[in-house]
């Protein structure tokens, strides 16, 4: 069993990106991603788990035993650094063998394991080369090899794909996920790329400024973001947001934005209870909006086309809604001219409303 | 070993050596400076406490002041000459050319030689009868006796400049190469003359580097000993006796150890003040100030 849990961990002193009251429980064999912008503390968390940093308060448990005071060597974790951190003066073979040499394994066994790992990662032909002669992707695979070779309890990845070019990144995403499934060890993965997080993780911990905003599976995070930040961070193209106010008129409830109102009478109870005041933000994803040349329902909103962005397999229509750009996903053969008037309709079940002051989700 | 203890352990040998070989002797000699002590009489007379008498003696002695003057004259002359020559050399060498590094390294050789060896050899070179400089000067119709009260300091400056101008050149060159090229290119587009470029781009940017070079060289020149010792031994008649040499004489020729310690402390204070300024400039990371100097440029 290799669970990793952080309990109310705080690290402030000497940390560029501090972490506060961080609590996280990663299940055995689970792939959890720490997702957040730069400075959110994801690397700090990884380094705390690895033992490269000392925590100020709280506890870290690896495999149900307290790891606070253990050195990195004693924690049985492996880490892949963003810069790969391969030993420049040692060959690929020696780099891979390093963890095993540290544990003073016999040479024959080391040799066997190195060749095995090199095989899995398809770097056997590179064993005698020096890191300086490797490409980015090759270096990364050596770094991964060095991590998996001793079958640690926990894998830590610190933005491993960031330094690769776009095509390679897409390829490696799948490779890494597959690898993790095959090896089957608990993994903590840090990145700022939400696509990586969505495609690879069992669960995502969205982080901001040293705190967890939400920790759930990708689909929950996508469909039920708990607050404005999470909603805005996940999803490409990102969710559209419109400031609005809740008001009641003639016995009905409306969310009133400058240029339109939406009838929310059926939700008025919830809105009134959970909202701190009447200022709210309406959120809707580009894929949950339909566009027509005429109003479809009485909730359809008239907008003006700003620009059409064809993307090959689909297109994004940018609309001018009350002075702000509103993006909608449209099929690839959709035609529109700048300045044209079109009507958009929101899929009601997919609408999100956020409290403007606290940012928390009301619906 | 636990990391907390390790980090102190690693610096322990360094600190111990420095404490013993620097702090301890300094404290000892500070104490000594308050005594009327002479090493020669170590076994005979007991050293008597004289308070700050040694300091008063040293500071009121006109000989001390004339030595300071000699030193000042030397330092000012030497540093100025070295600065000018160094600057010219740096300007000559900014542009890349084949063999540039070899040339620079070759020019730096004088700096690497032992001052004492250079001093000894220049006695041969400067000699009136068989020295090579005498020969060269005679080609221009100039006779030159170097070991005279008026000529001796300039002669020492000559040797010192030969040794240390390359040092100035190196630092100034580093400063010049660190000026971002695009500043010059923007100025070229605006059709600025080379003088304007120099005045508004080059000078502000390299000022900190120049300060470092000047300070360092001044401190070093002030400490000058080896060269003077062997080249002139303070002569003729004290005309080239710098303060370091004077200290040596007091402490090791006349063996007025107490007084010597006092003078040593006076020198120390001066040097500490100078080096404080120097270190402040150094640790201000001059290379990074280039970024902020961009805003000063108005071409």
């Amino acid at each position: 069993m290799a669970r990793v849990s952080l309990e109310n961990v705080t690290k402030k002193t000497g940390a560029l990106c501090p972490v506060f009251g961080f609590t996280l429980e990663v299940k055995d064999k689970e792939f959890t991603t720490l997702l957040g912008p730069s400075g959110s503390g994801k690397t700090t968390v990884l380094r705390l788990v690895a033992g490269l940093e000392r925590l100020d308060s709280g506890h870290i448990y690896i495999d149900d035993s307290v790891a606070d005071d253990l050195t990195p060597a004693d924690r049985d974790v492996a880490m892949v650094f963003q810069t790969y951190a391969l030993y420049p003066h040692l060959s690929v073979y020696r780099n891979l063998a390093s963890p095993l040499e540290a544990r003073k394994m016999p040479k024959t066994e080391i040799d066997r394991d190195v060749k095995e790992v090199a095989d899995i990662l398809r770097i056997s032909h590179l064993l005698n080369k020096m890191p300086i002669h490797l490409s980015g992707g090759e270096m990364q695979r050596v770094a991964i090899g060095r991590a998996i070779i001793r079958r640690p309890k926990v894998f830590l990845f610190d933005e491993p794909l960031t330094n690769l070019d776009a095509k390679l990144r897409v390829h490696m995403r799948a490779e890494l996920k597959r690898l993790q499934r095959d090896i089957g060890q608990t993994t903590l993965y840090a990145t700022h790329d939400e696509v990586e997080a969505m495609t690879m993780s069992d669960r995502i911990a969205v982080m901001r400024r040293g705190k967890i905003e939400q920790y759930d599976s990708p689909s929950v995070i996508y469909n039920n973001p708990q607050n404005y930040f999470v909603a805005s961070f996940i999803g490409t193209p990102p969710m559209n947001f419109i400031d609005c106010s809740y008001l009641e008129r003639d016995g009905k409830a409306y969310l009133d934005a400058a240029s339109f109102s939406i009838d929310v009478s059926d939700l008025s109870q919830t809105l009134k209870e959970r909202g701190s005041d009447s200022e709210m933000i309406l959120g809707i994803r580009p894929s949950d909006v339909s566009v027509n040349r005429e109003p479809v329902t009485h909730s359809s909103i008239e907008t003006e086309v700003y620009v059409l962005e064809p993307m090959g397999s689909m297109a994004i229509l940018d609309l001018n809604v009350a002075g702000k750009i509103f993006k909608v996903r449209v099929p690839k053969h959709f035609k529109a001219r700048t300045g044209e008037r079109v009507w958009i309709t929101f899929t009601r079940e997919r609408m999100h409303v956020f409290d403007k002051k606290t940012g928390r989700t009301i619906i | 070993m636990d990391e907390n203890r390790l980090k102190w352990f690693l610096i322990t040998p360094t600190v111990i050596i420095l404490l013993f070989w620097v702090i301890y002797p300094l404290l000892w000699s500070l104490g000594l400076s308050f005594y009327n002590y002479s090493v020669m009489q170590a076994f005979a007379a007991k050293p008597t406490f004289v308070g700050i008498q040694n300091y008063l003696d040293v500071l009121s002695d006109p000989v001390t002041w004339s030595r300071f003057q000699v030193t000042a004259r030397f330092v000012v002359l030497a540093v100025s000459v070295e600065f000018v020559i160094g600057f010219i050399l740096a300007l000559l060498l900014i542009e890349e050319f084949r063999g540039k590094r070899i040339i620079i390294t070759t020019i730096l050789i004088p700096m690497m030689a032992a001052p004492i060896a250079i001093g000894v050899f220049f006695r041969f070179v400067l000699d009136e009868t068989f020295g090579v400089t005498t020969y060269f000067l005679s080609l221009f119709g100039l006779g030159f006796k170097w070991y005279t009260p008026t000529n001796v300091i300039p002669s020492v400056v000559l040797v010192d400049a030969w040794m240390w101008s390359p040092f100035m050149m190196l630092i100034i060159l580093a400063g010049l190469t660190a000026v971002p090229k695009y500043l010059y290119e923007a100025a070229d587009i605006d059709r600025a003359s080379w003088w304007m470029k120099f005045r508004y781009i080059t000078v502000p940017t390299i000022k900190p580097i120049l300060a470092i070079a000047l300070l360092f060289r001044t401190m070093d020149a002030f400490k000058l000993f080896d060269l003077i010792f062997i080249l002139t031994d303070g002569g003729p008649g004290g005309a080239s006796e710098t303060i370091s040499l004077h200290l040596y004489r007091i402490a090791f020729q006349y063996f007025y150890t107490g007084k010597g310690s006092a003078l040593a402390y006076v020198l120390l204070v001066i040097i500490i003040v100078l080096s404080n300024i120097y270190v402040r400039f150094l640790t201000r990371r001059p290379v990074e100030t280039f970024q902020s100097s961009e805003t000063i440029v108005e071409v």
């Binding site: 030993y87 | 990391e3 600190v15 070989w21 090493v39 004088p110 030689a113 400063g175 190469t177």
Partner: protein
């Protein structure tokens, strides 16, 4: 057309001036070199002789002196080899110590948070700024009391002290440039901090250590004042032996120049070896080219 003409003229002037400068700075060394191969007659010739038949007699004089004994003219070794040996021993030992300890301290300063780190660093740097003369007096007394006069170990420790501050500063600069992820990866692999340092960081620091060592070597090699004051016959270094001509009227210039050339050779070789690091060494590693 006119523009490129002007440029060529400027370029030529530049090169001429550079050539002249190089000649000026190289000439005395060249002259020293040349003089050491001249006979006594040749070296005093005025106007100076540019072309002459070289002789090795000066170099032989450096190592052997010929004097009359009952057996006639017999060569006996001079003491130069002892002085040379002293110089080599003392310089190498002090450099080994200072670079060794200095690197350890530099590693600590570079990677760890230490209370009062800046003060420590400043203190270490300031020891370099001390005028040797000011420290000479107390050092002399201390050495007399401790019985360190005229000992190898005395000078070794002294030079170590001189070079330590420089070594710490230079090595800190070098180590700062080595990414700490390297030793962190080693620690995660299973190595202790010290072993991680040896396996991951040290190999990267070797060039820096070599450069630092060379600069420290040159400093120790050339040191004069302290050696003069504290050494007797047994621990005398070459610079001191050179200075003992002071006050002599009949100086054997051939002997002197030959000794100096011998003593200068390693320095010149090392300077060329360490070309890349010259700027760094001269400015304590803060300005890097």
């Amino acid at each position: 057309m006119r523009r490129s003409n002007k440029k060529t003229i400027l370029r030529t002037i530049r090169f001429v001036m550079i050539a002249l400068a190089t000649i000026v700075f190289v000439f005395p060394i060249y002259w020293m070199f040349v003089t050491s191969f001249k006979t006594r007659v040749d070296m005093f010739a005025m106007p100076p002789k540019w072309v002459f038949t070289p002789t090795l007699e000066n170099y032989m004089d450096v190592f052997l002196k010929v004097h009359y004994t009952i057996y006639g003219l017999t060569p006996t070794p001079t003491d130069f080899d002892r002085f040379l040996f002293n110089s080599v021993l003392i310089s190498l030992s002090s450099v080994a110590l200072s670079v060794g300890f200095g690197t350890l301290a530099a590693y600590s300063f570079s990677r760890f948070e230490l209370k009062g780190k800046d003060t420590w660093l400043f203190f270490i740097l300031s020891t370099r700024m001390l005028p040797p003369i000011a420290v000479l007096v107390p050092m002399f007394l201390m050495y007399r009391t401790l019985g360190l006069m005229n000992t190898h170990i005395g000078l070794i420790l002294l030079y170590t002290m001189f070079n330590l501050s420089f070594a710490v500063w230079m090595m800190k600069g070098f180590i700062d440039e080595i990414p700490k992820e390297l030793e962190e990866a080693a620690m995660i692999d299973g190595y202790s901090r010290i072993r991680a340092f040896i396996k991951a960081t040290l190999p990267q620091a070797l060039t820096g250590m070599a450069a630092t060592a060379v600069f420290c070597l040159i400093t120790s090699w050339n040191e004069f004042a302290f050696a003069y004051v504290t050494s007797g016959f047994e621990s005398r270094t070459v610079p001191v032996s050179l200075a003992r001509i002071r006050g002599e009227s009949g100086i054997n210039w051939g002997l002197i120049t030959a000794s100096e050339v011998i003593y200068l050779m390693p320095v010149i070789i090392f300077t060329f070896l360490m070309q890349r690091y010259l700027l760094r060494g001269v400015t304590f590693g803060t300005i890097k080219k």
